[in-house]
């Protein structure tokens, strides 16, 4: 939906020029609070080294404290090759980790993983397959204005990656500016075959341009900035989760959709038991790093 939101904003903005209207005001709202639930934040990758799963409890909507950690849970991940990995929370902060002994890596493309959590006498289960992922071929920069209304210039980054042909693939794009993850709601970028869902059949094509350029902060980059781009493989379910997560945290204006809960795959094994929230996803990750230096610059066409 991202591209459509963009085009709605343009004319509404234009009308606003005439009417000096259309405005957002922060107001007080009294909300009820529902019962607390287990919240799972788990992304396992095929990268070497430690893997982390964060367990917390849901909190009242306006409670801006760090969410309360879900402690003393038993957390294991098993794969379809018969291996089981135990995740432990040695420092009691809700971050459950698995550390490799020697050179072994947890995640392998093509395997299916099952997460088991026992917490406060309830057992939760989630499964996820680790799908394939393409490599990032290159990152280039162009010197340009921040937007058509601005006179300030910056460097706009564009990365090139090609969708893997032969099946529908789902990806998530993440980027870092000088080692700092850019993580606002609007930085969430997911792609189906390297394009937006519902655009066209782009199987096997280069990622489309809006996706290629999704790795820019508002201010664009400065000379000598270091930019890192990661492409994560997703399952369809994880893709939908990210898409809905973005919709729900940016859902406003004339064309909002009815607010709904972001989907979850954290299922309570007891029938009728309350499910968790959050998601268990397994992603293969490929990345590339580039610096804004003259050899990486391209002319602005």
């Amino acid at each position: 939906m991202k591209k459509y939101k963009l085009i709605y904003h343009l004319p509404v903005f234009l009308l606003a020029i005439y009417t000096l209207s259309g405005c957002e005001t922060v107001i007080d709202a009294k909300l009820d609070t529902g019962p607390s639930q287990l919240s799972v934040d788990a992304i396992l990758t095929d990268q070497a080294g430690q893997q982390t799963i964060r367990l917390t409890q849901t909190a009242a909507y306006f409670n801006s404290n760090t969410p309360p950690a879900a402690l003393s849970a038993t957390v294991t991940v098993s794969d379809d090759a018969g291996k089981t990995y135990a995740f432990t929370d040695s420092d009691n902060d809700g971050y459950y980790t698995w550390k490799p002994t020697g050179n072994d890596t947890l995640g392998h493309i093509g395997r299916t993983y099952q997460l088991n959590i026992t917490y406060q006498n309830e057992t939760y289960r989630a499964t996820s397959k680790m799908n394939r992922v393409p490599s990032v071929d290159s990152i280039t920069f162009v010197k340009t204005k921040l937007n058509p209304f601005s006179t300030t210039e910056g460097y706009r980054a564009e990365f090139y990656a090609r969708d893997l042909p032969g099946a529908v693939d789902y990806y998530r794009i993440r980027y870092f500016r000088n080692n700092e993850l850019q993580n606002r709601a609007r930085d969430i970028t997911v792609a189906q075959d390297g394009a937006f869902q519902g655009s066209a059949d782009t199987d096997g094509l280069m990622f489309i341009r809006p996706i290629r350029r999704s790795i820019n902060p508002d201010s664009l980059y400065a000379l000598n900035d270091v930019v890192k781009v990661e492409v994560h493989s997703l399952t369809l379910e994880a893709f939908t989760f990210w898409q809905e997560l973005q919709t729900q945290v940016t859902n406003g204006g004339l064309f909002a959709t009815p607010p709904t809960n972001v989907p979850t795959n954290i299922i309570n094994t007891k029938s009728g038991g309350r499910n968790g929230v959050g998601f268990f996803m397994t992603s293969a990750v490929r990345s590339r790093t580039a610096q804004v230096i003259p050899t990486n610059l391209r002319p602005d066409l």
Binding site: M1, Y4, Y8, L10, P11, L15, Y18, T19, G22, C23, E24, T25, I27, A29, L31, T33, G34, S36, S39, D41, I43, A59, Y61, F62, S64, P67, P148, F149, Y160, N183, R184, A185, I188, Q197, G198, S199, A200, D201, T202, L205, M206, I208, R209, E244, L245, Q248, V249, T250, N251, G252, G253, L254, A256, T257, P258, N261, V262, P263, V277, G278
Partner: protein, 809 residues
């Protein structure tokens, strides 16, 4: 078998049409006259003709024609035609219409039927400014119609308008029973119905998207509009195809007496229209155009990147008529409008309609109108408008096209007026095609077109049972076929409610092969019983079926929303409504005030809803993401209007509730719809001070309960992004809405001998600048994402003054 039924229905329709045109008299016998005594009386004669406006020759709709001696009467139809029947004798006809001088004619019906065309003179200036047009003065009480509101263009032009632009759709939102999801949203909601449940007709052709600029303005050019009628209940059998209301907009025919040039310059649009008689007064036409011009004014100020940006909307409305002879008149009307936005990224949408009509008077008692129309709505979107990036672009478009033929007969039989006819529509849906290019590789992708046939036959009678009791009853049979060529999808049925159903099998159908057929009997009934002291009781029941649906899951509908037919997976929407009302006129001359109280209850079946995360764009398997539910709406509407005087206008209050129940949403429990408002108070007041001859004033005030919103209860974090958790749908209310608008009109000085007539309209929208909420939504703070906020969004959050200059030559 089902195809056969369709063919038989069409055959029947054609036979009826041909049979009647071959011999009107035979058909009258075939159709039958319910009133035996009248038929036996051989010396019955009819007087019939057209009633027109003397100033411009426009046919007048709904003029009362009353026979003094018999105490019976009729009203003119949509083309200004009337017919009354009486035994041989001499009679006095009294022809009256609000805003026009009453005409009295003596007629002698002794040996033959009479043709009598009458032109009515407008009354003086004071009464020209009359409020809502209600035909005859006592029409509120005497007419069998209920749940009907009519606004004449003079009133429309005086209501304070947003940015000074007189607007039909925004104005009808001031009527009882009409609501909207919020200011600036496309369309309107009638008695708990969604926006796609209104049949919006422009000279009988449906308009699929009635908005300009995402809903801030509507497509109807007030300079070309003659009459606006909203039917919310007691819908007669000649209308069908939507379940909640009919908005029947009729265009002017064009001045048949003298050339006339009208125009206006406003802040957003400028308007120009020209009308004149042609063919020595046997015909006339009107052409009216509007265009927004903000882009032209802004052009010099744009930098090179934005130069060439397009943001405008225009519409062209035209109509012509030609009177071949006393018995035949033809009309041709058309509308073409478009909204265009874009710099590099371009987006445009618009409607085109053409309707051709033939009025034929077979005999003094049988009137035929045949309408053929074409209606098209399409949009297209292009990421590379200037063609600068041939290697990377995205283009998509979508359209719906209708072709229809609609014969409609009226048979005037004294105490009975029988209407019958039919309609055939061919629907052609093109849900979307897309072309995408990435790094030089181009791919096309499209959803195949869907086709459907919608047919209906109807018959209805308006019967004066006793002088006090009048009935209107009818039956419509509608038959819808979803036909090939196309693919039909069959989905799994065993998924938990509220989740996506995946496709199991796809079946290919050849051209004209029937995929799925639905048929519905739609009974209609209204009754009026006159009570003493100028009052009446009215009752109505109607069932309506709707076979095409707007797929829209956003608060305000967007121009990208796509229409879809009923299919093997989507069942037609059905609505049943009962309504009752008490109507009374009182005050000076008995009709100074019109008052009414109406109550209604409406049941809706097969309402479309969407699974969480539904994918509605270019999705071949869209039907697997749809849910089906039911709705109910009930309420009471109070209406008080003063028709004359220095201060006139109306006040309306609506108490209403509208809910839905869908398995898979809100745990399957009933929930309030997004446009549910418990209380709505609107008032429209006009002030014509006798001391200030050139000035008059108008004010509107609206007060409404807040619409429902879905508010979160809890939150969780995922990758340091805070997400909301909801416990139900539409479980809170946003704050109440209120707004005052004012307008003042200054008439230009009249110069003797000059035809020029001009005025200035000054208006202020949202006088006290209230930040009325459109919605309240919940988001993380942009700078500190861990802090979550409730945000009130207002569309027009400030005072909006405007000035418009109108002229007429």
């Amino acid at each position: 078998m089902k195809t056969n039924l369709r063919i038989r229905l069409l055959y029947l329709l054609v036979t009826v049409a041909i049979g009647i045109s071959a011999n009107g008299q035979t058909t009258q016998n075939t159709i039958g006259q319910p009133n035996g005594p009248e038929r036996r009386n051989a010396a019955q004669f009819t007087v019939s003709g057209y009633i027109k406006d003397a100033s411009n020759g426009e046919g007048l709709i709904g003029v009362s024609v009353y026979v003094k001696e018999t105490g019976t009467g009729t009203v003119t139809n949509n083309y200004g035609f009337y017919a009354v029947t009486a035994p041989a004798g001499n009679y006095t006809l009294i022809i009256s219409y609000v805003g026009f001088q009453k005409e009295t004619r003596s007629v002698s019906l002794t040996d033959r039927n009479l043709r009598l065309d009458v032109e009515l003179q407008e009354e003086g200036k004071q009464l020209q400014e009359v409020v809502v047009s209600t035909k005859a003065e006592d029409d509120n009480v005497k007419n069998i119609e209920m749940s009907v509101n009519q606004i004449d263009v003079k009133t429309l032009k005086r209501i304070p308008a947003l940015l000074g632009e007189v607007d039909v759709v925004r104005s009808i939102q001031l009527l009882p029973g009409v609501s909207t999801v919020g200011e600036g949203a496309t369309g309107f909601n009638v008695r708990g119905g969604s926006i796609d449940q209104n049949l919006v007709l422009l000279d009988e052709a449906p308009v699929y998207n009635s908005s300009h600029l995402f809903g801030f303005f509507s497509v109807f050019n007030p300079d070309a509009v003659k009459d606006v009628k909203l039917i919310k209940g007691g819908i007669p059998s000649n209308y069908g195809g939507r379940v909640s209301s009919i908005l029947d907009v009729r265009l002017k025919e064009g001045n048949a007496k003298k050339p006339e040039l009208n125009g206006g310059i406003g802040l957003i649009f400028s308007r120009l229209s020209y009308e004149r008689p042609v063919f020595k007064g046997k015909g006339s036409f009107i052409v009216a155009a509007r265009r927004s011009y903000a882009d032209i004014l802004a052009q010099p100020f744009l930098n090179s990147d934005l130069r060439g940006s397009k943001f405008y909307f225009y519409d062209l409305t035209a109509k012509g008529n030609y009177r071949i002879n006393d018995k035949n008149t033809v009309f041709l009307s058309g509308y073409l409008g478009r909204d265009v936005f874009g710099a590099d990224f371009g987006f445009n949408w618009g409607n085109a309609t053409v309707s051709a009509r033939w009025n034929h008077v077979f005999s003094d008692r049988l009137f035929l109108n045949t309408t053929a129309y074409y209606s098209n709505y399409d949009y297209s979107l292009n990421s590379d408008l200037k063609g600068k990036n041939p290697n990377d672009f995205f283009r998509t478009d979508s359209r719906i096209v209708d072709y229809s033929l609609k014969p409609d007969f009226s048979l005037f039989l004294g105490k009975n007026t029988i209407t019958f006819g039919g309609q055939s529509i061919v629907h052609d849906f093109q849900p979307g095609t897309a072309t995408a290019a990435s790094a030089g590789a181009v791919r096309s992708f499209g959803l195949s077109s869907k086709y459907a046939l919608e047919n209906a036959l109807y018959v209805g009678n308006e019967q004066q049972v006793t002088p006090k009791l009048q009935l209107q009853y009818g039956l419509r049979y509608s038959l819808f076929s979803y036909i090939g060529p196309g693919e039909a999808y069959f989905f799994q049925t065993d998924v938990p409610t509220g989740q996506r159903r995946t496709v199991l099998t796809t079946v290919d159908y050849r051209g004209r092969e029937t995929i799925k057929t639905y048929g519905n009997w739609e009974p209609r009934f209204s009754a009026k019983y006159e009570l003493p002291r100028n009052s009446s009781l009215k009752l109505s029941y109607n069932r309506l079926a709707q076979y095409i649906h707007l797929i829209s899951n956003t608060t305000a509908s967007t121009p990208l929303d796509v229409w879809t037919p009923s299919t093997n997976n989507i069942r037609p929407q059905i609505a049943d409504q009962i309504a009752g009302g008490y109507f009374k006129n009182f005050g000076k001359s008995g009709n100074e005030f019109e008052a009414s109280v109406e109550v209604y209850y409406k049941w809706l079946q097969n309402q479309i809803d969407y699974i969480d995360g539904a994918n509605l764009i270019l999705n071949k398997y869209l039907e697997g993401d749809l849910l089906s539910g039911r709705g109910r709406a009930y309420g009471a509407e109070f209406f008080l209007k003063r028709t004359t005087g220095v201060v006139n206008g109306w006040v309306s209050y609506t108490l209403a509730k509208t809910e839905r129940q869908v398995d898979g949403i809100n745990n399957g429990d009933w929930y309030a719809t997004r446009f549910d408002k418990r209380h709505t108070l609107t008032s429209v007041l006009m002030f014509d001070p006798p001391s200030a001859k050139r000035w008059n004033f108008a004010a509107t005030f609206t007060l409404a309960s807040g619409t429902p919103g879905t508010f979160p209860t809890n939150r969780f974090e995922f990758q340091d992004i805070t997400a909301p958790i909801f416990s139900g749908r539409n479980n809170y209310r946003i704050p109440a809405y209120h707004r005052l608008d004012l307008a003042a009109t200054l008439q230009g000085r009249k110069r003797t001998g000059k035809k020029k007539d001009d005025n200035w309209v000054f208006s202020v929208y949202n006088v006290y600048g209230r930040k009325n909420p459109f919605s309240v939504y919940f988001q993380p703070n942009k700078d500190n994402p861990r802090v979550t906020e409730a945000i009130k969004y207002s569309v027009f959050a400030t005072v909006i003054p405007s000035v418009t200059y109108n002229f007429k030559f």
